[in-house]
């Protein structure tokens, strides 16, 4: 067993883990943060995407012990007040999800994108999200959601982390 | 799956025949093979196949099905079972030796492989390349270690 110390959504975590424990399992089953989903454990579908030190990472291709000393953000950390942030609201308003299973991965990938670039072209959005597979939406609603969120962020009326109560 | 390969050893055909049908002598040159016991006709050991990070360990056995010295044709049947996991390898290997000169023998190997389990479960096929590489290693070893030591 190894001890890992990290922060998850700003909260400090110290846990003993078996070295082979995947970060996805650690978040879901040790910390109870089941919003991060597991779709393949082969590094393809992107459902398990989380932010490690601000960058998108496949949590199924990362060992929990590799995350020692990092700051992790998961979907649960997007709207801490229990409402929806700009991006989440854009997904609701633009039908960016259906079954909702791949959604957390897309939200994290889009969060990282918008963090770097608040005016991405459709092509850039599609490219950036191409590592996340959705079987329900045909991506149309997802791309539109990210565009809508970017527009709002550019307007300057809201910031990415700003939450809105339902 | 059938894999064909041809290589040349620097030895007259009779000598090459003697060496190539002597499992104990060639065993050290079979990449990843560890001969552990011989019972009657059957040679048993561990075959460790290493392809980059992928390592498959098989408990293996090898027998001669046919040894036709006049035609210089030898047929071996090998079988292996993954030591962890459920996969198997079954191989029928037909080798035909032909004199290619006074001190040179051409060896033609045709292996019919039946592989099951995890390693067989991929669309990208590298088995051909891998076996070609293994045979290269085998021949190289044969030439430097076995043949070189042969008077």
């Amino acid at each position: 067993m190894r001890t890992v110390s990290l922060t998850v959504n700003g909260n400090p975590v110290d846990e003993e883990v078996e070295p082979r424990m995947l970060l996805s399992d650690f978040l879901r089953h040790e910390l109870g943060l089941t919003g991060t989903h597991v779709g393949c454990e082969q590094g393809v579908c992107g459902a398990c995407t989380v932010l490690v030190d601000g960058e998108t990472v496949r949590s199924c291709l990362t060992l929990a012990c590799q995350a020692d000393g990092t700051a992790i953000q998961t979907v649960e950390g997007l709207a801490p007040d229990g409402g929806l942030n700009v991006l989440q609201r854009a997904f609701q308003e633009n039908h960016g999800l259906q079954c909702g299973f791949c959604t957390p991965g897309f939200l994290m990938a889009a969060t990282a994108l918008l963090e770097r670039n608040d005016d991405p072209s459709e092509e850039e959005i599609r490219d950036e999200l191409s590592g996340n597979i959705c079987r329900c939406t045909g991506y149309t609603g997802i791309v539109r959601s990210v565009q809508a969120a970017a527009l709002q962020l550019r307007d300057g009326t809201v910031t990415a982390s700003e939450g809105t109560a339902e | 799956m059938e894999i064909t390969n041809e290589f040349t050893v620097q030895a007259p055909v009779a000598q090459a025949w003697a060496i190539l049908t002597d499992v104990e002598r060639i065993a050290p040159c079979i990449p990843g093979f560890q001969l552990e016991e011989i019972e009657g006709d059957e040679y048993r050991g561990t075959m460790k196949l290493k392809i980059g990070a992928v390592v498959m360990s098989y408990a293996s056995r090898l027998t001669f099905v046919e040894k036709d010295e006049s035609e210089h044709r030898v047929v071996m049947r090998g079988g292996g079972r993954e030591q962890r996991g459920q996969g198997t390898v079954d191989a029928t290997i037909v080798s035909v030796l032909q004199a290619a000169g006074d001190n040179e023998t051409r060896v033609n190997v045709t292996a019919t492989l039946d592989v099951t389990g995890r390693i067989a479960g991929f669309g990208r096929s590298i088995m051909g390349d891998v076996s070609a590489r293994l045979i290269d290693q085998f021949v190289q070893c044969l030439e430097t270690r076995v043949m070189a030591g042969t008077p």
């Binding site: 989903h37 579908c45 079954c99 909702g100 045909g138 | 099951t116 995890r118 669309g123």
Partner: protein, 796 residues
């Protein structure tokens, strides 16, 4: 007509404001916050974890299984094999015969004698963690006596072929022929006959959430609680109850949030029997979460068909007749309840589609092979048959020098209700109009000009059309129309006005992306005049909701809305009486809207529906009303046949030297009758189209000749991403169905059904200077380039 409803029981009663509006989904916030509750998110006290050992070989007798080393591994609680289940009398899952000469197919939850495909479960390990369970699986020693693998669907019927099921006389699942009109004569008299053999690739829905089961046994009551990621909790309960010899209500099956289904989760599976068995034996809850390899290898596949099609055409382009032979490579077992015949049967019965053709015959057969069993996947065999037909029509148009769209328009059925020669009762639609609308949306003439211009520059763009009819709102009559008379459907739903004025709808239709919590709330709110936020849609728990065959085959929208209109209408009548009583007027004078009841024309008289409900539940005055005043009603609905229609058009650019296809544009014209929520319709269309594009270009389950499964990862079974799919435009036409409640037609599968033909036709159109045509899916880059090269070589 089967459905005559009182005037009040309509989709848009007075005051209705929700149905037809683009309303954001009410279920979204929980998913967006990561608060959905999928099977793997559920943890029960004392729960253990299971992993299955699966067969590495396609066909073999099991000669021995030694589980001792696995059982001895620290952390392992138990290992079970087929022998353990057999010893306790667990019954097989039965896929029942429904045609003369067909045999029942019995599938043991775990096999006791032989394995029949790579990936078939052979044993289950239960341990403290999934990690340990997988460690233990590696320690189980199974001796197999290999048997020849049967892979090819035509070869499966050879007299010498190895037999998969010893209790059946051959590998034939079933066979059926039908002839309508006089096809022999039509073909004899035709000026042109076009034919091809089209092989449709083996594909599946591949939801991003794999399947999963948690089971807990209540020893005291002798019953099970089973969580399963399924589209069909009630059927799952029926099958599991039968396997265990229990009463249905001894089992509670809960399908929590389900991460996509697409038909794949519309079958009962052996894991839904084995995991409860393990939980009962051990006395602790057991969880099994299917991993991606297991899903790809062992959840149902679909649509692998060898189709021989012939089209008889008169000199002027009139379609005279169609003939088809459909052989389904159905895999190792029969799925429940449709059997392995489902794809071939669906493909064949929709052969004439929206074409006016009077002479049609077909032969349907399906065979057992050593591949994963097939079942339903969005669009089912309809899609495979559609692709084969529409590609042949484009080939015919090219050969005749006709525009492919014009040739289709010439042969298209009229917009009025129409009985096809094979006996399908189309309920009217926009068959021609949808083609014309697709043509206009593309600016077809300009597109052809651009195509000619680009060709001069050595660039190849092409356009493909795929007009469709989609059997939808799948009830018993629709099942019969596609040859599945045995697949009786049965669905109930209830509407209840609670004491606080909120409305609860309970129905068996599970929602796994369809947005039922929104659309059905729209319907219910309009029925009772309440605000949408005061409606709750309950589903997924067999203890909590009435019976339903389940959500599949585009049936929930039609049937669910019908149920709510019927049951809601009953409750509305009582609500009107209560309000009238409370307000001392006649029920006929009351209007319900926006959560209020008021006297028509006098909004200031309004009482809130909450007040009326409280009057019903707690107001002594309401007891003066006579008759049954339960503010709840449970109704069933089995709709007549109804068919959506539309056209999908795709524009592609193809690089003939690398075979790379870029989808420039997809236009989908969708006519699903009266729409509940256009936003959700558009989402369903786009999602289905994306899966269709995937099936056309990328997706295929591949087996080698020995039956090895070569598609065990998502790097092998390739799913299209946002880069491959490209933009999808959806346009609506709304032709109300004259036969269903509210004029609603089911929808959701057309994109998957029809997009592949549009893609294949577009690629062939782009490459028409080379004379390339296609007779299989998927058309991979390699296949396309090699086809171009073969034509080029042929010319030299």
């Amino acid at each position: 007509m089967t459905t005559s409803l009182p005037i009040d029981h309509e989709l848009h009663p007075a005051g209705a404001q929700y149905v037809g509006a683009k309303i954001n989904r009410v279920e979204d916030p929980r998913f967006l916050r990561g608060e959905g509750r999928f099977v793997d998110d559920i943890s029960l006290p004392g729960m253990l974890h299971a992993a299955f050992l699966r067969s590495p070989v396609a066909h073999a007798n099991i000669t021995s299984i030694d589980t001792s080393r696995a059982a001895a591994l620290p952390g392992v609680t138990a290992v079970f094999t087929g022998q353990d289940l057999e010893a306790e009398g667990i019954q097989p899952i039965v896929s029942r015969a429904f045609l003369p000469g067909m045999g029942d197919n019995l599938r043991e939850p775990l096999p006791t004698k032989k394995v029949r495909y790579v990936g078939e479960a052979v044993a289950v390990v239960v341990a403290d963690s999934r990690y340990i369970a997988e460690d233990a699986c590696e320690l189980i020693e199974v001796e197999y006596e290999r048997l020849p693998a049967v892979i090819d669907p035509e070869g499966a019927l050879d007299p010498g072929a190895a037999l998969l099921h010893e209790d059946l006389p051959a590998n034939l699942i079933g066979r059926k022929s039908e002839s309508h009109g006089d096809p022999e004569r039509a073909f004899a008299e035709a000026d042109h006959v076009f034919s091809h053999r089209f092989v449709h690739g083996r594909v599946a829905g591949v939801p991003i959430e794999c399947r999963g089961v948690i089971a807990e046994y209540d020893r005291g009551r002798g019953g099970f609680l089973i969580y399963s990621s399924t589209q069909i909790p009630h059927l799952t309960r029926s099958v599991a109850a039968e396997c265990f010899g229990l009463a249905e209500s001894d089992l509670q099956v809960i399908a929590p949030d389900v991460g996509g289904g697409f038909g794949i989760k519309a079958h009962p599976y052996i894991e839904e029997v084995v995991i409860p068995f393990a939980a009962r034996r051990i006395g602790r809850p057991v969880k099994w979460i299917e991993d991606r390899y297991e899903h790809l290898a062992s959840a149902v596949h679909a649509k692998e068909l060898v189709m021989d099609l012939e089209l008889a055409v008169a000199a002027d382009g009139t379609f005279l007749g169609m003939r088809g032979r459909y052989n389904a490579n159905a895999g190792a077992y029969g799925c429940f309840p449709q059997t392995g015949m489902v794809d071939a049967m669906c493909a064949a019965t929709l052969l004439p589609s929206l074409y006016k053709v009077d002479h049609v015959s077909y032969e349907i057969l399906a065979v057992y092979t050593n591949k994963c069993m097939t079942g339903t996947y969005r669009g089912v065999g309809w899609g495979a048959g559609h692709t084969a037909r529409e590609v042949l029509i484009d080939d015919a148009a090219r050969a005749l020098g006709r525009d492919p769209l014009e040739l289709r328009l010439q042969n298209c059925i009229p917009s009025e209700p129409y009985r096809s020669v094979v006996g399908m009762n189309y309920d009217g639609g926009s068959y021609q109009e949808s083609m014309e609308q697709a043509r206009d949306a593309l600016d077809y003439d300009a597109l052809r000009e651009r195509q000619a211009k680009l060709r001069e520059e050595g660039r190849y763009i092409g356009v493909g059309f795929s007009p469709f009819v989609e059997p939808a709102g799948f009830g018993s009559k629709a099942a019969a129309a596609v040859g599945q008379k045995h697949q009786v459907t049965y669905d109930w739903g209830s509407v209840t006005l609670e004491g606080d004025g909120t409305v609860t709808v309970r129905m068996g239709f599970h929602s796994h992306g369809q947005g039922h919590e929104t659309t059905f709330a729209q319907v219910a709110a309009d029925q009772l005049g309440v605000r949408m936020e005061d409606v709750r849609i309950k589903y997924g728990d067999t203890e909590g909701v009435p019976y339903s065959t389940g959500t599949f085959a585009s049936r929930s929208g039609v049937i669910g809305s019908g149920l709510i209109m019927r049951a809601g209408g009953d409750v509305r009548d009582k609500l009107l009486r209560l309000a009238a009583h409370l307000m001392e007027v006649s029920p006929a004078d009351i209007e319900l809207a926006g959560g209020k009841a008021f006297v028509r024309g006098a909004p200031d008289t309004a009482r809130t529906i909450k007040e009326v409900a409280q009057y019903a539940y707690f107001g002594p005055g309401s007891r003066q009303l006579e008759g049954d005043m339960a503010l709840t009603s449970t109704r069933s609905y089995d709709p007549p046949e109804s068919y959506s229609n539309g056209t999908i058009a795709v524009v592609v650019e193809v690089d003939p030297e690398t075979g790379k296809v870029t989808i420039e544009r997809t236009v989908a014209i969708e006519d699903c009758g009266v729409m509940l929520n256009p936003t959700i319709v558009e989402g369903q269309v786009a999602g289905a189209v994306a899966q269709g594009i995937g099936g056309a270009l990328y997706e295929e389950f591949v087996y080698d000749d020995d039956g090895n499964f070569l598609s065990g990862t998502l790097l092998d079974y390739l799913l299209a991403s946002s880069m491959e799919v490209g933009p999808i435009e959806v346009h609506h036409i709304e032709t109300p169905s004259p036969v269903t409640d509210g004029g609603i037609k089911g929808m959701g599968e057309a994109g998957t059904l029809a997009a592949p033909a549009a893609v294949l036709n577009a690629v062939a159109d782009a490459l028409s200077p080379f004379g390339v045509t296609f007779t299989s899916t998927p058309i991979t880059a390699s296949l396309i380039r090699d086809a171009v090269a073969a034509k080029r070589e042929g010319e030299q």
